[in-house]
């Protein structure tokens, strides 16, 4: 009897010891790596960190008794700084998961490091499809959108309205090229034509000469394959040069609610775009966006909503798995559907692509907009299977 008791105690001790060992260092550390001072600071930046905190707060800032800590860093849109910070965070600060990371170049650099060091990586902001294609990782999860999803949805919608001939204004770096290529391949597939295009340097403030070329091309649609400040200036100046009045349709292949806010409705009205989140869709999105706005003074972008969704799903997976072991948590994350205010029963494919819905949106006219941030009409709900590249064709070696 005594020996059984002893054995039991020993077992219990072992078990509890093991339970402690489940959480690596008594803290779950989330590193928010973002552009905090440049062109993406409004659509990710501090807003993303706040979105992550909102997710952590829902768990009382602790999972199974282990504290959740959130730290922030600025990658300044430079891939080398992003890589160094991620490496330093993982090696010396014992960060368990890197999240956010707008800018494809930065995200690709971090993907390599998190893959080598076996740490989880939750992306909400970069656009490159390589992140779930040839550069995919068992630890990398791509939330919210990618170049294919936003570009092809917009191209398809406009061709369906009979706007078939296109001219591209493309930012001259990897992201712009890829956005243009995604739109062009969709056009080819569904019978659209590309009448030409021009490449402008990143961070151009004056688009007039490019717009003039677009105007004289006679294309029905001028597609802007750029982002942030470039898109804002291009759209603004297109309206100044009378492209819309001349019958040409403006298509911003990547546009965020913050960009529309910055442009103002008189200029942005009528633009067609694809986003995976809009604050004014359901009671849940409205309630969450209200919490977000109380902290930041503005409505969330889809990237920031995606950060919330990804951090929440991660913490849920840690809770269910009872460990922060990266392999076990990654398996758990893939094993359960994503469910929160933004996504309902969304599955995560083997290449790390979160197969969420995309929404085809149109910017309201000033007359249609009833209150601040009342910017979009939802034209169409596109299920994830149609929005994203089929994981089997993504080129990711993890997909069997």
């Amino acid at each position: 009897m005594r020996s059984i008791l002893l054995a039991g105690t020993a077992l219990a001790t072992l078990a509890s010891g093991a339970a402690h060992a489940q959480m690596s260092d008594n803290v779950i550390k989330i590193g928010m790596l973002s552009d905090r001072s440049g062109i993406y600071a409004d659509i990710n930046g501090e807003g993303s960190a706040i979105a992550a905190r909102l997710a952590a707060e829902e768990f009382g800032n602790a999972v199974n008794g282990t504290k959740v800590e959130i730290i922030v860093g600025d990658h300044q849109n430079k891939a080398d700084i992003a890589a160094n910070l991620a490496r330093q965070w993982i090696d010396t600060e014992k960060v368990d998961v890197v999240a956010d990371v707008p800018n494809s170049a930065a995200a690709l650099a971090v993907q390599v490091i998190t893959r080598d060091k076996k740490r989880l990586f939750l992306m909400s902001g970069p656009g490159s499809t390589d992140l779930t294609g040839k550069e995919c990782s068992p630890y990398g999860f791509h939330w919210t959108w990618d170049n294919h999803a936003v570009a092809s949805a917009t191209a398809r919608a406009l061709v369906e309205q009979g706007r078939k001939s296109w001219y591209f204004l493309t930012a001259d770096y990897a992201f712009g090229h890829s956005l243009e290529a995604e739109a062009a391949s969709t056009l080819k597939e569904i019978g659209g034509t590309v009448k030409g295009g021009v490449r402008h340097p990143l961070g151009t403030s004056d688009f007039s000469s490019f717009l003039l070329q677009a105007q004289s091309s006679g294309a029905q649609v001028v597609g802007f394959a750029n982002a942030g400040g470039d898109t804002i200036n291009a759209v603004k100046q297109a309206s100044e040069f009378g492209l819309p009045q001349g019958g040409q349709t403006m298509a911003a292949l990547l546009l965020n609610i913050n960009d529309v806010h910055a442009l103002g409705l008189p200029i942005a009205q009528g633009l067609t775009l694809a986003n995976s989140f809009y604050w004014d869709m359901t009671d849940e999105t409205r309630a969450w966006s209200k919490r977000f706005e109380e902290r930041t003074g503005r409505k969330p972008s889809m990237n920031q909503a995606g950060v919330y969704s990804s951090v929440k799903h991660y913490l849920k997976a840690v809770q269910e798995a009872g460990t922060d072991d990266p392999d076990k948590v990654a398996a758990k994350m893939r094993g359960m559907p994503v469910n929160d205010m933004m996504m309902k029963d969304v599955r995560i494919a083997d290449n790390g692509r979160v197969m969420n819905h995309m929404y085809l949106l149109q910017v309201k006219t000033p007359a249609e907009s009833k209150h601040p941030w009342d910017y979009f009409k939802v034209l169409k709900d596109i299920p994830g299977d149609q929005a994203y590249i089929d994981p089997k064709k993504s080129g990711c070696p993890l997909v069997k």
Binding site: S37, Y40, G45, P201, D206, S209, G229, I232, G242, G264
Partner: protein
């Protein structure tokens, strides 16, 4: 279709006209820099940031006081100029005895602080500023559609540039100014208050940047980073024209705008660097700049 250098003339004229518009901004900004450098020997790195502050001043006047474009065209440069006066009085004036580098470092720091502060308050994606009603729409020139507002920018900046050139090179006040830069002690001995003149010159130079900011607000986004995008090109313009040369700044500004316009038709990817290629060539052949004189 008629072509020139293998480019349809229509496109060429259009691009050259657009180049002239951009050149107007370069001229206006580099003029302010040239005035400040010529009179104070200060390399004013805060010029781009003050251009941004000018645009924001116009936006804030409209947002909070309902003051429209036309009054802002006067008020915003005044506010920026006032800020410049305070800056010169409290900080810059202490550095004249030291190396040029100190003035450069101070103004660079001021630029960083201004940009950081505006980004913190108003975000990175910028604020919209509408084109004034009177200048909406545009003219069809046959070879291109010219928005009325852009036409106005050329006119306004040319008037300002020529007015400044005249004031400095052809009036008595300008003569005092030029004399004070050559020999401040002697000019002071004639009973002219040189420190006040220097302060006002700085205020005027940065007010020109503020004016350029208001002119730019309806075209570009009112954005905390709008100045840093432009300042590097403007510095190149000043270097090419010759540091401190007023006529040089105006002519080079317009000329480089034209050249950039040309580059945008021939080889758009190079449009951002063509100015710097010219700068390198000029520095090799004529280090004092096209209109500068050796000191």
């Amino acid at each position: 279709m008629v072509t020139l250098f293998g480019i349809p003339t229509q496109a060429l004229f259009g691009q050259l006209l657009l180049g002239l518009i951009n050149g107007s901004f370069y001229a206006l900004l580099s003029l302010g820099l040239a005035v400040i450098f010529g009179m104070l020997n200060v390399i004013n790195f805060a010029h781009g940031a003050l251009y941004m502050v000018g645009a924001f001043a116009a936006w804030l006047l409209m947002q909070h006081f309902g003051i429209g474009y036309w009054p802002a065209l006067l008020l915003a440069p005044l506010l920026v100029g006032l800020f410049g006066v305070v800056l010169e009085k409290t900080m810059l004036s202490r550095l004249y005895k030291l190396d040029h580098l100190y003035g450069l470092l101070l103004t660079f720091g001021v630029a960083l602080i201004l940009e950081g502060a505006f980004r913190h308050w108003y975000g990175a994606s910028g604020q919209p500023y509408p084109i004034p009603d009177a200048l909406r729409g545009g003219q069809n020139l046959g070879f291109m559609f010219l928005p009325n507002y852009r036409g106005w920018v050329i006119v306004a900046s040319l008037i300002t540039c020529l007015g400044t050139w005249y004031a400095i090179e052809r009036t008595r006040l300008g003569a005092y100014l030029r004399a004070a830069t050559e020999n401040p002690t002697l000019v002071q001995a004639f009973g002219i208050n040189v420190p006040v003149m220097v302060t006002l010159t700085y205020g005027f130079g940065v007010a020109l940047a503020g004016l350029a900011g208001v002119l730019a607000a309806p075209i570009y986004q009112v954005n905390p980073l709008m100045g840093s995008n432009l300042i590097v090109v403007v510095f190149a313009v000043v270097v090419i024209g010759g540091m401190g040369s007023i006529l040089g700044a105006i002519v080079t500004g317009l000329g480089l705008g034209l050249l950039e316009g040309l580059a945008k038709v021939v080889y758009p990817e190079a449009s951002n660097i063509v100015v710097f290629v010219v700068m390198a060539i000029v520095l090799l052949i004529k280090p004092a700049g096209l209109f500068g004189r050796e000191r």
